[in-house]
């Protein structure tokens, strides 16, 4: 079997003491920046690029990749506990996750997010190993028409996702598009809506917008309700999701993983689109659908599985075609180029150790993340115990 011998080679690379250590540092950093709102994987990877120059290319890539998928685990924690998504891809998790926390079910919400992510991580690692070559052939045929369709699909999903007035949802999408116009026009290079400021030449940063809408709005919202802060200080509930929860979520985790894995491969996809699309799909497919928006555990399971699956499969176009699907992948390409490796179809054949080593390290990293998540939870529990 080709796959098994390839994965064997991968594990031989990933299981050296040095690479295990870098994998651990990567996922640890990823978890930390995932919890911190306002600092995302792109910023972190950008800051670590110069450091990665001193490492072996395999170690560098393993470290940087760990940050990206590690952030998907961390992002859900603040989304559920404080209603502030640590990462953009955890935005939809706030909808049901925080409602669960308010109902004293923060523990199962955190648990299902970690379990779903782990399951998605294992499946998508296997998927990359099995399907990277044929899937790359599909993505190779992408043209402008397909990119455009993908964008429209995303915008329609945003409208479907919103609950409440349809007109307001469409108006907010249009307003979002208008905000996206700030900066340099892609067709003519003219500066739009920048009021003469150089800082706006590249547009409004996504981090700034999401902090304003999710962070500052939460501060103001807390003012209105005098005593109740939205920070869940009560009991986490039981930590592990019950067997009934698991059975209830199994379909959602599977659907989220599948959808996330597919969307991750597509350019423009990755963790962000995957989480939104998975939540939308879940709202349509899952029965009974009524509880969504009011603390449905499936509304946490699906997007958290999807963003992890999407984060990992978005490596496929980067490694096989040299196409960055999202900003983090662009940074990865930068890291490869620093080491004099041209990203593209030839990475797989020229440097099999790098390609398969990275894939093997992803599975290893996912295992470490579950352990880290357990430790993190113990710290939270102890702090709550001390507060009481």
């Amino acid at each position: 079997m080709d796959v098994i011998s390839n994965l064997g080679l991968g594990f031989a690379v990933a299981l050296t003491i040095q690479n295990v250590a870098y994998c651990f540092i990567g996922v640890l950093l990823g978890t930390i920046i995932g919890v911190l709102p306002g600092i995302g994987p792109v910023t972190t990877v950008a800051m670590l690029l110069p450091i990665s120059f001193t490492l072996q290319p395999e170690s560098a890539l393993i470290l940087l990749a760990g940050i990206y998928y590690g952030a998907q685990y961390g992002g859900s924690t603040t989304a559920i506990l404080v209603n502030i998504p640590g990462e953009a891809s955890s935005v939809v998790t706030t909808i049901d996750g925080h409602q669960m926390a308010r109902r004293g079910r923060a523990g199962p919400a955190l648990g299902i997010a970690a379990l779903g992510s782990f399951f998605a991580g294992c499946v998508s690692t296997l998927l990359i190993a099995l399907a990277a070559p044929p899937l790359a052939a599909i993505a190779l045929q992408f043209g402008p028409a397909e990119y455009f369709s993908l964008m429209v699909c995303g915008l329609v999903a945003a409208v479907v996702l919103a609950h409440g007035s349809l007109v307001k949802a469409i108006a907010m999408v249009v307003l979002g598009l208008l905000l996206g116009l700030v900066g340099t026009d892609v067709n003519t290079g003219a500066r739009r809506f920048n009021f003469g400021m150089m800082g706006l030449a590249d547009g409004i940063e996504f981090v700034a917008i999401s902090m304003a809408i999710y962070g500052i709005a939460e501060v103001v919202y807390n003012l209105e309700k005098k005593q109740e802060t939205s920070v869940v200080s009560g009991a986490l509930g039981r930590v592990w999701p019950s067997l009934a929860d698991l059975r209830y979520c199994a379909g959602s985790i599977l659907r989220g993983t599948g959808l996330g894995a597919i969307l991750g491969v597509l350019p423009g996809g990755g963790a962000l689109l995957a989480s939104f699309a998975a939540y939308t799909l879940e709202k349509k497919v899952a029965r009974p659908p009524r509880q969504f928006g009011y603390g449905d555990i499936r509304g946490v399971a699906a997007p958290e599985s999807a963003n992890n699956a999407g984060a990992q499969t978005s490596f496929i176009p980067m490694l096989t075609l040299g196409i960055p699907g999202n900003p983090t992948m662009a940074m990865m390409i930068g890291a490869l180029m620093i080491h004099g490796i041209a990203p593209g179809p030839r990475v797989m054949t020229d440097r099999p150790g790098l390609f398969w080593g990275l894939i093997a390290s992803m599975w290893l990293g996912n295992l470490m993340l579950v352990i880290l998540w357990r430790i993190k939870l113990l710290i939270i529990l102890r702090r709550q115990g001390a507060a009481r």
Binding site: M47, K168, V174, L178, N187, A190, F193, V219, V220, E224
Partner: protein, 148 residues
């Protein structure tokens, strides 16, 4: 004419306002044609669309009845927005420590109950955390103290 759905009415006004700003700010940009769009084409189309949606909300609010607008706390909102903006302006000349003091004190004063010891403790914690993580650990180019 009576407003039956104040919440819809005011959100319609808000969207029309955004649309007006977009169209006005983009009026200097060349339009081009649909086949060869200038920088002003898309803002105008989006602005028009947003205005139409806003008008639809306003029109609907006069016919269908709906939710009232919750009481609007202008002063706290303004203080918090101002505190965040001020932080952005102050961080370069005054450095992390002083601008964080300004940020927390101002934001806390917007709250319903203002407790000085608590706020000061939070300020110190924030300063230590931000300086430790962002300046020392991550090496962001931020001043800690005023640069003269």
């Amino acid at each position: 004419m009576r407003i039956r759905a104040p919440k819809d009415f005011w959100s319609g006004v808000m969207f029309c306002g955004f649309a007006a700003v977009a169209i006005l700010a983009a009026r200097g940009y060349s339009l081009g044609t649909a086949g060869k769009m200038g920088p002003g084409y898309f803002p105008l189309v989006l602005g028009g669309l947003l205005a139409a949606l806003g008008a639809m909300l306003i029109g609907r609010s006069l016919i269908l009845s709906g939710e009232p607008v919750a009481r609007f706390h202008v002063l706290p909102l303004a203080i918090i927005a101002a505190a965040v903006c001020l932080f952005g302006v102050l961080i370069e000349p005054l450095g992390l420590v002083l601008s964080l003091v300004v940020l927390t004190l101002m934001s806390a004063s917007a709250g319903a109950q203002f407790r000085l010891p608590e706020t000061l403790a939070l300020t110190v914690l924030l300063i230590v955390f931000s300086a430790g993580v962002f300046v020392y650990a991550l090496g962001l180019p931020l001043n800690i103290w005023p640069s003269l």
